[in-house]
Symmetry: C2
Subunit: 338 residues, 2 copies
């Protein structure tokens, strides 16, 4: 039985999360029962939604229980199997959590999925061709639904979700405008991902100033906004919204840290007849096949070139997670475990 | 040529609107050209949207031009006609504005509509069986779309729009809960309109306290909210929203007076996967026939018993309008001109 290091949620944050909220332990992996497989994780995905799970109280999902392994998406390799569909050596994607190994009831629907790593690196199944990519696809296609020539803005544009939003918008003939932090991320967004423009929010202290920059980047106004951050950027984009603009609410990083950030101008929803819609991609399993097909093709053809920031070793996960919440990553934040 | 008294927008408000923003003048009505009719107004409708038009700047409609007759819905009687479809004595509804007479190009689509006053008093064509009623119908049926057993909350519940929202919700098997100001309005909402409950917002100083009262009135949470006021009530209702709740944004009185009121918890749109949608009923002319049919039946059968507050004489319109913005009216605010 291999030794399995795990990171548990030890206590809940008051205000900002910190490394002291987590605890690293090690235990032997248990023997397999019939129908189970043992997966060795190659990569762990770190995502903003995890911050929401660390809080107690009413949210879209059960809070992460204290004293248990942190929830998280993983890709890896089957090392032992007592399920007829899986053989040692199979590459798989699942929700293994913040640990080096997981024991999975492989027959449970959605618990494990084989992935083909011939053309797509395995880590991308946690990003562009995984949950973040499908998140981008759902919000863009099902909520924003851009028409050719319309303008779509996305925040956290260099991230796993944002980069896919822009490339999917371009594929539909829309103008794609990113919002990102710093010149390097903005260059990646325009030069490597092919967005039409990118606004560096770090150059702006308030929503009015940011709205001014958006006005230049979006001369025809904003028809769709894919919201990954909340706060100042949301306010600024709303000031530039056209009539009948759609906002897909996907992430509110700015609000995860305990103190929700108000929306300054809700009356614009009325005056611009906007539609603002929140969603969680795991509630829309019906779109996954279509979405993964298009995303796989975009990655395969080089139109979508995902960036990754990779931390090494399970013990680095808490620091890497907190850094991602503060925007220190560039592209998809992963932890490499092998 | 009868003498026509008119109220113009003289200057725009800075902050709160006041009577000094308006000016009363009188002039002779001009001679009719072919295709025109002269209408003598019996009632002028006063509505919250007019406050929005008094502001300059980007809104859902052109601002009310300075020095011109204030926009407004009217019902009245044809007194002279050079259009073959209209005869003196016909009862009509139109957008005659804040004046005693109007000259209408009767052939222009939507400019004038004959109304049947056999079973429905003419003033109701400015309320329950007019624009406010259709507004209620669109937001409730097309945005909230309540299922039997779901809970629909409406603010300004004793008003022309709110009263219709509740009665339409009940007709669909939903639980209807009103928010209104003061015990008399709340009694009307529950006893005469048949809402299941009504919360008096004047008993509550903050959103948390109001949310507590809503929790009692809505033990199953809130599935739909018809927003007529904005501000505190919106925040409180959002705190009680169920997953997949819908908010129809119809009015934001709380935000019309110059200083927009932030939405305190926009992250709830995400965590509850809510849909928040603004609309203007004049952009959905396709629903008017269905809506007016159902509303006429509800009024005719006594299920919808609209209240009216009636000011007398054109000169009383500015005071009555400002009073309505402050919630001093009870039901539909009208000015009787004849």
């Amino acid at each position: 039985m291999p030794r399995n290091r795990q990171i548990l949620l030890d206590n809940r944050p008051h205000g900002e999360a910190s490394t002291t909220n987590f605890r690293l332990i090690a235990e032997d992996t248990p023997p397999l029962r019939d129908g189970q497989v043992l997966v060795r994780h190659h990569f762990l995905s770190l995502d903003p939604y995890m911050r929401g799970r660390m809080n107690e109280g009413k949210s879209y999902a059960q809070p992460q229980p204290l004293g248990q392994v942190m929830i998280g998406g993983t890709v890896g390799e089957v090392v032992e199997s007592r399920h007829p569909k899986y053989q040692p050596g199979d590459k798989v994607q699942g929700m293994g959590g913040w640990q080096e190994y997981s024991v999975v009831d492989a027959g449970q629907p959605g618990a494990l999925r084989k992935v083909d790593t011939t053309h797509v690196p395995i880590s991308h199944y946690l990003g562009a061709v995984g949950m973040p990519g499908v998140t981008a696809w759902y919000g863009l296609v099902k909520i924003i639904d851009p028409k050719p020539g319309q303008t779509v803005v996305v925040s956290a544009a260099s991230g796993a979700v944002g980069s896919a939003v822009g490339v999917l918008a371009k594929a539909r003939g829309a103008r794609a405008v990113g919002v990102a932090g710093g010149p390097a991320k903005c260059r990646y967004v325009t030069d490597e991902l092919g967005f039409d423009a990118c606004v560096d929010y770090k150059q702006h202290r308030d929503a009015t100033s940011l709205a001014g920059a958006l006005k230049e980047a979006c001369p025809g106004g904003v028809d769709g906004y894919f919201e990954n951050v909340g706060g100042l950027v949301l306010d600024a984009v709303m000031l530039r919204a056209n009539a009948f603009a759609r906002i897909a609410m996907c992430g509110m990083i700015a609000g995860y840290e305990g103190h929700p950030i108000p929306m300054q101008h809700p009356q614009l929803i009325l005056t611009n007849r906007m539609r603002v819609e929140g969603f969680i991609v795991s509630e829309h399993l019906e779109v996954w096949p279509d979405a993964l097909k298009e995303l796989g093709e975009l990655v395969g053809s080089g139109k979508l070139r995902p960036r990754e920031t990779i931390a090494r070793g399970l013990e680095s996960a808490p620091e890497a997670f907190l850094g991602m919440l503060r925007g220190r990553n560039f592209g998809k934040q992963l932890v490499q475990l092998v």
